[in-house]
Symmetry: D2
Subunit: 342 residues, 4 copies
């Protein structure tokens, strides 16, 4: 039984484990001030072309989102998110638990645009409602779609004109930036976003996300927030080493490319068998709509999430590939299509 349920079933890439074993023998400064964390931060600053950016390493996505958003907002300010946004639907009210409302917007492809946010601003205009202040987006989105440079640039202009912070959740940023059709780079993100995070958990690390803060207004005293929210690891080296390994060469992007490539192979098989997708995803999460009997067959050998019924005889499933997905499992999966539909 092979699982396509998510991109966090396996542990870490061997290079990361090796680096951790090596660093384990050293005595490192605590709480993220060790040489590995400092170097990892510098490597990221180089990749994004912003020597002035703050880089902090946190343990997970929900933790990063709640720590950053509660640090950036005043009590009466709110985050704006797509209904499908991870902070809205899959973080157990973590942002609200820090006191902030999330204002949601219906966006069929998971992508926020200036037009969608303008509607929110029109509706929230005085002290009887929260004040929308931060725009939360994900790239890739929770349904696998990606932002283009044109849209993100527009969104950035709109946010700056309206005094909004633009924050990007990059839990699957590697997959987004190496996807077919992507024209964004880390440098672009650093230019367009006030803050964003580079996801490690879903791209080769045991765990860990790198929060990059570009807007100087959002930097002050952030380490206090890390500590207060339980996000400051005593052995910060453990995070630093992982990101050092991911970014000292090109490992972060190589791993993401592999994941996308594995998804692409499956997509071709789906299309060749005559089936469509729930969303237009060039990334490592895909949502093919398949006949129910075939899904039953597939589930004898493979694990995946059943997403939603689309008609009486068809259902969308979610397949997630990762840096660790072996090509032979993908091929075995693909063969099911050819066996079944030939």
């Amino acid at each position: 039984m092979y699982s396509f349920k998510n991109d966090y079933s396996e542990g870490a890439h061997p290079k990361i484990l090796e680096a951790l074993s090596k660093a384990s023998k050293e005595q490192n400064t605590a709480y993220g001030m060790d040489s590995h964390s400092l170097r990892a931060a510098n490597l990221i600053r180089e990749k994004i072309g912003r020597s002035d950016a703050d880089v902090h390493f946190l343990e997970g996505g929900t933790q990063t989102n709640l720590t950053a958003i509660s640090a950036f907002l005043r009590p009466y300010e709110a985050a704006v998110s797509a209904e499908t946004g991870h902070i809205n639907g899959h973080e157990t009210g973590a942002v609200e638990a820090t006191g902030h409302k999330i204002v949601t917007v219906k966006a069929d492809d998971g992508i926020l645009t200036p037009q969608l946010i303008q509607k929110v601003l029109d509706q929230f205009q005085n002290e009887h409602t929260v004040k929308p202040k931060l725009v939360y987006i994900s790239d890739s989105t929770e349904i696998g779609t990606i932002y283009t440079k044109a849209i993100l640039s527009d969104l950035c202009d709109f946010c700056r004109k309206n005094g909004l912070f633009l924050y990007l959740d990059g839990a699957r940023l590697g997959s987004a930036l190496t996807a077919q059709g992507n024209d964004l780079t880390l440098r672009d993100l650093a230019q367009f976003c006030d803050a964003f995070y580079i996801g490690g958990t879903k791209n080769g690390a045991l765990f860990g996300e790198a929060l990059v803060t570009c807007n100087p207004e959002l930097k002050e005293n952030f380490r206090y927030m890390l500590k207060q929210r339980g996000a400051m690891l005593a052995k910060g080296m453990v995070l630093g080493v992982q990101f050092e390994t991911l970014f000292e060469k090109n490992l972060y992007f190589e791993l993401a490319e592999h994941a996308n490539h594995m998804a692409e192979r499956i997509k071709i098989a789906v299309r060749n068998s005559g089936f469509a997708f729930l969303s237009n995803s060039p990334t490592n999460q895909i949502f093919p709509i398949l006949p129910n009997d075939f899904i039953k067959k597939l589930s004898q050998d493979f694990d995946f999430e059943v997403w939603e019924k689309t008609d009486a005889s068809h259902t969308a499933i979610r397949l997630v590939t990762s840096w660790a997905t072996p090509q032979d499992e993908v091929d075995r999966f693909i063969h099911c299509f050819y066996d079944f539909f030939e």
Copy 2:
């Protein structure tokens, strides 16, 4: 330069790293429902003799404290802590950030007693003050002292009689339970405490604490709290594997014994050289009071925290040993005493 600054300078014990490397290749269920986490929880349940206890794995001490305390209390309820308690002085207001006051008690040796808590209860009696509801203790304490079975048993009785929860912070529990003079066991803790945590970060793990909840009243829906506070690791296996390794045999206690043994060697040298300690610590944190010129000399080769001045020519320093402290560094340190004071 060797550091006695803390017990989280080194990474993980080699056995843990090996186990992580091995498990990294598997596909594990996410969010702490993997076989390693389940087995680790069972191993702990066996050691504490409570098959009904809940065991959850979290990433760090502050995170564990804030998640547990905010789960256990109603909004108007407070934690009672020694002034020296970690939640009071070293967690950046993490508990208050979840909405709860910490009521502090002066306890010179860091140990809370029924008498000290009774005074709080006498003072907090109606709705114009918070309602003390949870007693927070640490074993070993922040100044290295330990609880005895007699005191903990009394405290337990007192808490039950007064409707208070007894919660024990075990960041350095290994060191406490293997200290000279200790008469407590994990089984005792499970009997006396409503909840407690077994610290991994400071005893051989890369990171991680095991929260054990014995009082059924405190168990319900705790996984919601884990997720909301950003404490649920996607690859929960990473925590499970570490505690599996620590508890499948006796590694957890062996590592702690080593740390205590190293501290004991230093204590003998301190005493032989005619010096006293700030607190009566049988654990891996000791606070010798030394002449200032000798401290200056020591600091040429060793790193440690300067704790507090005790008179014009003497100062207490903090020395922390760990599972990773090599005996030869301890011996080199001890020789400084003999060289200087002979």
Copy 3:
């Protein structure tokens, strides 16, 4: 210029002011334990037929909602509200500021039903989302509509079956219970709801809401919550006297009937002039859809809120009557219709 903008433009009914003047000379026990508050609570207990209910007096609607909801819920639990619900759109994130998410449901007439809530329950099923626990409804709703006994009874059954609390915001409860078509009584509310509040601010008081808690599970230590949220008035007598006056005879319902009667007169004129309404409101808030040029004319002599455009030449306005609305102003308003459209 006469204003139909809201039902809180005028101060208190003369009988309330007289009673306040009289009680001002007495020495009363503080913090709501005075004889007036105790008597007012008893009067309400009699009207609802529940001698066991808790009755607390608070200063305003937002305060009551945030205090009650944060008292009733655990940190990971959420309130379910119609999108139009006051806590969602008009309280500046007050509930979220206490840490709780509001899950919203689209309900065109502002009325929640078991079917609508079932959908929420289907969607929120594990620890990756909040746990829906409290159903928030308003009677009358924010758009003037009212609950029937049949719907409220169904909702009650559904909530009990699913372990949900049913909480009713009665900011305009007087108007709802005296509306044409209403078949609910205070006794019914006490039977169907776990808690509800009886609004004073919008029905004759200077300010004040009476929170009635029927479910014993929700009563404990509520006075701690009152104090902590800044809702416990030192001179609690000021609230007690007002509710004593409203409920010692039938003043509360008389005032509400007058408000409804004034709205009814306007509704007839609207209908006679051939116009419709945005919602089917039998209460003191009505939303006629009128020609833009007529609205312009009306606004020369009357104040009201322009609600929303319905087509190129028509707009819905909101008219609110109150216990203080003089009939001659209503008649003057009505005459504008007859003058304009004859």
Copy 4:
């Protein structure tokens, strides 16, 4: 039985009740934007000599403290208070419930000084502790003592030099500013404090406190905070009218002078009878230390709080006078001394 238990037993001064009755007939703009509130704010601005100050009216002291402090601080910032400070001991953790720690300082007379705060700053220096940011003081203090211009000026200088906000709780400000030995004025407060509130509840109003914000940095969007914390009264006029009446002439200070005068009469009798006080209070709260048998006698005719035992045969009691305390009750009380001790 006459009560000296507190200064909130009676209702409002007759002039306030008259003004409320008159204003009740008007139609006023809602939410504190009415002409009475605007005029009351202007009257206060004139008295403090700061036309640029923001003035907001809230319902009570705890509410004002929690709303102001949570508006002024970032999540990791803390308030510094005397142990006796109202926010620390008598507000049910209201400030902590908004997420902020209160750091307490032992100050025997309830007065904070630069020296006392410097010690806190020395202790809280990095991200492992909260960041002290706001100094909370009360004038008069919770034990009746008052600040002098010299001390407040020093405190102000110290706070500005150290980037701290100085916030003054003026629940009993009238009594402080009219006390014997006081050399402070409202103008001084506006110069020295970043924000302070002028207490109405304990000085003639039914309820209400006027928050004055002088530091421009603390003003922005405060009305959002008012609404979010449930502190924005729909009929804001009710608060405006009361402060208009208190400040349009000199009523606020006349009422406070009366209270002080009544306390002074009792103090003379206490001293003449040979007894001392627990604190040096020139204000309307006094704490005479009396023989237990005499206290027993007094309690047959008068109500007051028994404060604390001072020796086997003596106890301190708390006596509070107010604007409403009749001189004949004071004289009757005094006669008990002369009867008993002659």
